[in-house]
């Protein structure tokens, strides 16, 4: 590959459109938000930039800190579930016959064909008190009751009435929604790593006497680590900032920091505070990425030692 110095015109022709796009629509707005975070609200639509730290200090209000903390937890749990569910899926796809692979990958990304808003509303229809999950459970409940009736045990075991489960408007529903929406972001990088894995490494492990489970944990998981890390990042970061899923599926006690930021910009009309919160969220994300980079480099250094 030729160095970009040899063909500067070609290099700039390829780089400029994307660079300008990012500059105009990403870096400039981000810069504006950064500046707004140092502003003071003086009227309904007027904000003076006074370089005050008040907004950042306000973010450290215990209520908001609690929300940040909960957001990190919800995102962490959702990411773990996505990893545990996504790894077997990715493994299965990578071991599928070549003819079937594209179809399976299509199925993995099929949910993207529908808007996230519609998909999330669909989850409500599935999870609500009179939703499909509860209908299914009620059907099973009726079957069980009919089975126990001849023994006279129906009321003792099954109760008098079917009690629908409360599946919606709580943290569980939010985590469920996040896993559902972001699972493909976990499966795809995992698949990309596993598909490149040299099959003879797995055969060698079996050959040396390891069983399938041992091979999975000793060979597949360590070698899939780059994919696992990418998947975690791709799920964790959007999960940390999500507001739509928690807005639709969450209850009053499952607000995430994303919802609060959204409110500052809309209902509360407090752009400076919203901006400061956005940047704190950004810094948290950076800190987590830096932590991971540090862990990786330390591990590499130890391996070289």
């Amino acid at each position: 590959m030729e160095s970009w110095r040899a063909q500067p015109a070609v290099f700039w022709a390829f780089v400029l459109p994307g660079a300008l796009w990012l500059l105009l629509f990403f870096l400039v707005p981000l810069g504006l938000i950064w500046i707004l975070a140092f502003g003071e609200r003086v009227g309904p639509v007027q904000i003076d930039i006074t370089w005050t730290m008040a907004n950042y200090l306000a973010v450290f209000d215990p209520v908001y800190v609690g929300l940040f903390w909960r957001s990190v937890w919800v995102a962490t749990i959702a990411t773990c579930i996505a990893l545990v569910m996504g790894l077997p899926v990715a493994l299965a796809v990578s071991f599928a016959p070549d003819r079937v692979k594209p179809i399976l990958l299509l199925l993995v990304i099929l949910p993207f064909w529908t808007n996230i808003l519609i998909r999330t509303y669909a989850m409500i229809a599935v999870l609500r008190t009179r939703g499909f999950v509860n209908f299914g459970l009620e059907y099973l409940w009726l079957l069980g009751k009919a089975f126990l009736l001849p023994f006279g045990l129906d009321e003792v075991v099954m109760g008098e009435r079917f009690e629908p489960l409360t599946l919606l408007y709580n943290n569980t529903a939010v985590i469920f929604g996040i896993v559902y929406v972001y699972l493909p972001f976990m499966v795809l990088p995992l698949y990309a790593t596993l598909d490149r894995l040299d099959r003879s490494l797995l055969e060698a492990s079996l050959d040396l006497g390891a069983g399938q489970i041992r091979t999975f944990f000793s060979i597949i998981v360590p070698l899939a680590k780059p994919g696992i890390i990418s998947g975690i990042i791709l799920v964790f970061i959007p999960a940390l900032g999500t507001f739509l899923i928690s807005d639709l599926l969450g209850g009053t006690d499952s607000l995430l920091i994303g919802n609060v930021i959204e409110r500052q910009f809309k209902a509360a009309n407090h752009w400076p505070l919203g901006s400061a919160m956005s940047f704190v969220l950004l810094y948290i994300t950076f800190a987590i990425l830096a932590l991971r980079a540090w862990l990786t480099s330390r591990e590499e250094a130890r391996a070289r030692a």
Partner: protein, 365 residues
């Protein structure tokens, strides 16, 4: 204690079919204990499939495989008394040399103290001293191969399978590893089965060679017999080079046959096998005598006149390609035994070739 004379591997009428294609077609084979056995053949002849069936990575469609008298049907690779050196070596990239070698012992529950000493022993055996803590990406191809060997041998298998183990190494290293493999085999006394498409590799290492073509075994013999006594034309042409002459069989007399060849006249030659009653006469290029002076046949020798087309000089020997008077193409190799000998003749030079009937062999087509 089992009968030491009994073969370590018995392959009985094994077939492997992929749809209509038969990768391995009704192969029967017995491999003696402590052998260095080579499966040799062109790519796609089924040799790797056969090896992978021994390792348990492919199922037999029909037939039985016995290892040390035990039927291997339905036994998973991790439960077989067999270890494999893979073509890509398959050294675990996330483990050190020592961890790679220890892996097979750890997963089968060998005690820690025993693992340490056995790993150390294995490292010394493959001459990787001082490399125990290295990761595979800090090793050369040859060193990675040694790790793969140590990792398999440390398990003390009844059988070591090697799938084209030298194909990824350069020529010098390949020759070194050939000697090394033979040394290891003698040292550990484990039966080695090696798959290769390189005839020199097979001849140089194996105690016995099976030549395969299109899923079938054509001949099983020690190297010398395979080279000097091939039973089929394919074997003769696959192992080393050979000149062939079409011929007509006039009479059969025990081991010999009376044949007539348009180029060589009437001769009595040896038959390669009892079932060979027609076929082709072959002779190895180094057994053809080349003469530039007036031909004076030694008794019983057949003479051919020809013209030199091309000469390939390899240093130790030169291969002369010729066209005979009837237009057939022949080759003749000459060792450059003296530093001050006359140089090779130029293309276009006329010459005479002398062939002794005892160097000819009648092989089946």
């Amino acid at each position: 204690m089992r009968d030491v004379a009994a073969p370590i591997v018995e392959i009985q009428n094994v077939t492997k079919a992929y749809g209509k294609l038969k990768a391995v077609d009704d192969v029967s084979l017995a491999i003696p204990r402590n052998a260095f056995f080579a499966l040799l053949g062109p790519s796609g002849c089924g040799k790797t499939t056969l090896l992978r069936m021994l390792g348990g990575f492919e199922h037999t469609s029909t037939g039985r495989i016995l290892i040390d008298g035990e039927d291997m049907a339905g036994i998973q690779p991790n439960r077989r008394p067999v270890n494999m050196v893979f073509q890509s070596y398959a050294v675990f990239p996330h483990m050190t040399v020592a961890d790679n070698i220890a892996y097979g012992l750890k997963v089968t529950g060998v005690k820690r103290a025993a693992i340490a000493s056995r790993v150390e022993e294995a490292i010394a055996m493959v001459r990787l001293d001082g490399m125990a803590a290295r990761k595979p990406d800090q090793l050369s191809g040859g060193q990675r191969q040694r790790v793969a060997l140590a990792r398999a041998l440390v398990k003390r298998p009844k059988l070591l399978l090697l799938d084209e183990p030298l194909s990824a190494l350069d020529k010098k290293l390949r020759e070194e590893m050939q000697l090394e493999l033979v040394r290891l085999q003698t040292e550990v006394g484990i039966t080695f089965i090696i798959v290769t498409h390189d005839q020199e590799e097979a001849l140089g290492m194996a105690s016995e060679i099976a030549v395969m073509k299109e899923g079938r075994i054509l001949q099983i013999a020690p190297p010398r017999e395979l080279y000097e006594h091939p039973t089929r034309r394919f074997v003769a042409e696959f192992i080393g080079a050979s000149n062939s002459f079409p011929c007509e069989v006039l009479a059969i007399d025990g081991q010999n046959a009376r044949v007539r060849s348009p180029l060589l006249g009437e001769l009595t030659v040896e038959r390669s096998a009892p079932d060979v009653t027609s076929g082709t006469l072959i002779i190895r290029p180094e057994k053809v005598r080349m003469d530039f002076s007036t031909p004076e046949p030694t008794p019983g020798e057949a003479l051919i006149r020809g013209t030199i087309d091309q000469i390939a000089y390899f240093g130790d020997l030169s291969i002369v390609y010729l066209t005979a008077e009837d237009g057939s193409r022949l080759q003749c190799s000459r060792y450059n035994v003296s530093r001050i000998a006359a140089p090779d003749p130029r293309p276009g030079t006329a010459c005479t070739l002398g062939i002794h009937p005892e160097d000819l062999l009648l092989v089946g087509d």
